[in-house]
């Protein structure tokens, strides 16, 4: 299991716009680069990143991204989220070779 880090405030005032920083450990192999043996390493990329926000009433996608080979290894993405009420944020990375990683963060809006 690869490791992922979500850096954000866990509590917020209503209407506050929060910065969310998401980082996941992944080589983002382009499929163009030769390895130590001189053979080209196969493509191994994270293709999508999704952030959803779930409250008792509804679940909606806040932000999503498609990533390509030009994204550096250990993909870092930061974006903003406007806190309106308490709920659960889910961050999901999906990629080649069955890569699928999720992180949850509970957000409390006071």
């Amino acid at each position: 299991m690869a490791s992922a880090i979500i850096n954000m405030k866990r509590t917020a005032a209503a209407g506050e716009v929060l910065l969310i920083k998401a980082l996941v450990a992944h080589p983002m192999e382009t499929g163009l680069r030769p390895g130590a043996d001189g053979k080209v390493l196969p493509t191994d990329l994270i293709r999508t990143f999704t952030c959803t926000f779930e409250t008792a009433e509804k679940k909606s996608t806040v932000f999503s991204a498609n990533l390509y080979a030009a994204i550096a290894a250990n993909p870092y993405i930061s974006f903003y989220f406007k806190a309106s009420k308490s709920g659960k944020l889910t961050f999901t990375w999906v990629g080649d070779n069955g890569f699928n990683q999720s992180e949850n963060v509970s957000l409390t809006v006071a």
Partner: protein, 156 residues
């Protein structure tokens, strides 16, 4: 054309910066004359719609020491309300093996139209950030970055 003292002085100043090839000034416009493949990639993204160079900022260091991991931030001027927000942001490049860098989809829940990531750069080239507003219009920002150490993708 009537020239005031001020326009003559500012004209002379920009001409002198052009002569100093070792220095680059942000105010110098980057050519918007894209190569065919980059143009095609942008056109595909906009579905043939035109775009305009405004409202978007793409913040990348002008001189990149290490092309393997280059921080890039895209900021779009938008109130991010239900009626007026940024729907999509994408970054394209001119000279990497593939034109795509990343595509982001935003919602009004984002509150602020700013995304950042870290990218790879194969060589000195132009980068284009493009944003689609909720009214369907497209805005871009084109910058040029100089890369001293390229990302290790030098395969033909």
């Amino acid at each position: 054309m009537k020239q005031s003292r001020r326009t003559i002085i500012s004209g002379a100043a920009s001409a002198s910066t052009l002569m100093l090839t070792g220095f680059r000034v942000n105010a110098q416009p980057v050519s918007l004359d894209y190569p065919d493949d980059l143009n095609a990639a942008l056109r595909k993204y906009t579905n043939g719609a035109p775009w305009k160079e405004h409202k978007v900022e793409l913040d990348v260091a002008e001189l990149v020491d290490n092309g393997n991991t280059v921080p890039a931030t895209v900021t779009v001027q938008s109130a991010m309300t239900d009626s007026d927000h940024v729907k999509r942001i994408a970054i394209f490049n001119e000279k990497n093996p593939n034109r795509d860098v990343a595509r982001f989809e935003l919602t009004q829940d984002c509150g602020k139209a700013e995304v950042a990531t870290r990218m790879r750069l194969a060589t000195t080239q132009r980068l284009v950030a493009i944003a689609q507003m909720s009214d369907g219009s497209f805005c871009t920002k084109t910058i040029e970055v100089i890369v001293t150490l390229a990302s290790c993708i030098e395969v033909d």
